[in-house]
């Protein structure tokens, strides 16, 4: 039976609707919880988050995929309550944003242990809850080069994906060759992998998008909205038009089925200031109008935000 794991149980792929495939309810680096400068009351967190999710829902958003890995402030009961109160489906992930967000216990773990951790969270539940992970997060540590721990996490994720069917999404699409090697060695079809942040400003010139596309991988334009035109853009920002043109070039070249788009916004950041003015609703407010203005038809937009993510997230026969 085809299904997608959400924090409130499995749903049919047809129920996903419009999907924001790489987002965060709230992200913080491990250890940021010790620094009171970032603390927010639960009241404040709900106040910052609920209106964004409600607007997402009103805009036609169906599903919010949270990319906050283990050790980064992932908070399942909170996600469950947000989902229940706003009507937005939330998919939680297992895995790590990158080796440099895996704390010592996991940094010293074997591939096999990491695989069992991921499989448990996908098939039994996350942190004692009944909520099962719907996707596995992996990533490249800072420095644009895969570290040994990153590779161990990629291999464990590939094995867990094969075992459970859930897909993988990556933090950064740079230094992709070692990743492609691991996925090939493990026998994971690359349509189960979304190579994320292929569009961010600091990665340009370091992403071998042709290799990803040729191998059948999916390409994530999932930092839409981190525009250098913002008043205080982050270091990974990019000029708005340049990113859009990059995306359109791939659409025009016939790669639509391998493309996914998202905003990577934090509803209420946990361990950093966040980027003022940037929310998941950028997708509706800026990106889709811009795509229409560029002549992208509604059927194509539907493929990018509905058909492709459904195919990507669905597990089971």
């Amino acid at each position: 039976m085809p299904r997608v794991n959400t924090v409130r149980g499995a749903i049919a792929p047809e129920e996903l609707g419009f999907v924001a495939v790489h987002e965060h309810i709230g992200y913080g680096m491990p250890g940021s919880e010790l620094d009171t400068q970032w603390w927010k009351s639960p009241e404040q967190r709900y106040e910052e988050t609920v209106p964004k999710l409600r607007l997402f829902h009103e805009n036609g958003g169906g599903t919010f995929v949270d990319a906050t890995g283990i050790c980064n402030g992932r908070d399942i009961p909170y996600y469950q309550s947000l989902s229940e109160k706003t009507g937005v489906h939330i998919v939680a992930c297992t895995g790590f944003v990158g080796g440099d967000t895996a704390l010592k216990f996991f940094a010293e773990a074997s591939v096999d242990y990491l695989r069992r951790q991921f499989v448990h969270e996908i098939t039994v539940g996350i942190q004692g809850s009944a909520a099962k992970a719907g996707i596995i997060k992996v990533g490249v540590s800072r420095g644009f080069r895969m570290k040994e721990l990153d590779l161990r996490i990629y291999r464990a994720a590939a094995q867990a994906s094969l075992e459970t069917g859930v897909p993988i999404f990556t933090h950064l699409a740079v230094d992709v060759e070692p990743a492609l090697t691991i996925f090939a060695e493990e026998g994971l079809p690359l349509d189960r992998v979304l190579f994320g942040h292929a569009d961010d400003g600091v990665s340009q010139g370091k992403v071998n998008q042709q290799a990803i596309l040729a191998a059948g991988g999916r390409l994530g334009f999932d930092t839409f909205g981190y525009d250098l035109e913002l008043p205080d853009p982050p270091f990974w920002g990019r000029h708005r038009d340049e990113r859009l043109e990059h995306f359109l070039s791939l659409v025009r070249a016939g790669h639509v089925d391998q493309l996914l788009a998202s905003a990577d916004a934090n509803c209420s950041p946990l361990g950093w200031p966040g980027v003022k003015g940037h929310t998941v609703n950028y997708l509706f407010e800026q990106l889709i109008p811009a795509l229409r203005d560029a002549g992208v038809d509604d059927a194509t937009i539907h493929r990018i935000f509905v058909t492709n993510p459904a195919g990507f997230l669905t597990i089971g026969d």
Binding site: P30, S32, L34, D100, A102, F105, H120, V124, P234, F235
Partner: protein, 321 residues
């Protein structure tokens, strides 16, 4: 003994601590193990196990225990407060972090470009506030004041971030008057030098791990004492290259050399260990098994009292600014 000590239930006069175990752990959690799929955290069970061990410590004559593993290794303040109330054992909790592999990415690879690890000043502020404003229950609240600042270096040798960490901890100790515990990495003299260089008086520092074989071979215990810092013989009861008879001889030698006011004894026991090996030593080991060895080695009872009561009290008493 003058001064007061920060315990999890508030400040108490240092002379009320009694016998103190300075380098121990209550709940000891490898960073990240709290998220492991196969490690249960049953709070009632953890409480019962720790309470039984603390009661045994008290029955053996113990008065106070220091959870000396810092702010990110399973420290659980509500649990410790309840344990102290239930058992009558004074509990001192610590701030600080380290060695480097135990730090989160927030400190090592911050969301800046480039991802420069934290400098000493930021660590100093983080830890000083755990004394002046209270220790954190992450994202919830601050509780009582930290009674010790604890850090450590990598066995292979102090890393650059650990040097920042040591300097930051030294500054926090100087500002707040709370003592500093350093678990040395490869070279005890060097690591002590780093914190002395940060203008913390030697009498406010305890160096851990000095009963390691490499420390004994290098003459580090006497060197640390001669520098005026406290010497922690703090793996008593743990199996390894050094046995307790060797430790007893080491302690007797330090006392004979006139360093009796600079030695403290502990076991680095783990009350409840999660995601790391249990040290396999009871809090009672020093009192029940090691004291007879010290007597056999010729240490008189008043000398033992100094090691177990007076020295820790002097170390833990907050220095007035």
């Amino acid at each position: 003994m003058n001064g007061t000590v920060h315990t999890v239930l508030g400040d108490i006069p240092a002379d009320r601590l009694g016998v103190v175990a300075v380098h121990e752990a209550l709940l000891s959690v490898a960073p990240g193990a709290q998220y492991a799929y196969d490690i249960p955290f049953d709070r009632a069970e953890i409480f019962a196990a720790l309470a039984a061990k603390l009661r045994a410590f008290a029955a053996a004559g113990g008065g106070a225990i220091v959870d000396a593993t810092g702010m990110f290794h399973g420290r659980d303040l509500p649990l410790y407060e309840a344990l102290s109330r239930a058992t009558g054992v004074h509990i001192v909790a610590s701030t600080g972090q380290g060695p480097e592999d135990e730090l989160g990415g927030y400190f090592l690879t911050p969301q800046t470009n480039p991802p420069t690890p934290w400098p000493a000043e930021r660590f100093a502020e983080l830890y000083a506030r755990e004394v002046s404003e209270g220790m954190v229950v992450p994202r919830v609240e601050r509780r009582g004041a930290a009674g010790l600042i604890a850090t450590g270096a990598t066995r292979a040798g102090m890393t650059a971030t650990e040097e920042s960490q040591f300097r930051g901890c030294a500054r926090a100790a100087a500002i707040t008057g709370v003592a500093l515990s350093i678990r040395y990495g490869a070279d005890a003299r060097h690591d002590l030098g780093v914190v002395l260089d940060a203008a913390l008086p030697a009498e406010r520092i305890v160096v851990g791990g000095l009963d390691r074989a490499d420390a004994i071979a290098a003459g580090a215990p006497a060197a640390v004492a001669e520098a005026g810092a406290y010497v922690a013989i703090d793996h008593i009861g743990q199996a390894g290259e050094v046995d307790d008879a060797t430790r007893a001889a080491l302690v007797a030698g330090l006392i004979a050399a006139g360093h009796g006011d600079r030695v403290i004894l502990s076991s680095s026991a783990t009350g409840v260990a999660k995601g790391l090996p249990d040290a396999g030593v009871a809090y009672t080991h020093v009192l029940e098994a090691f004291m007879p060895l010290l007597r056999d080695a010729g240490v008189p009872d008043d000398g033992i009292h100094r090691l177990l009561v007076d020295n820790p009290a002097r170390l833990l008493a907050v220095k007035e600014g």
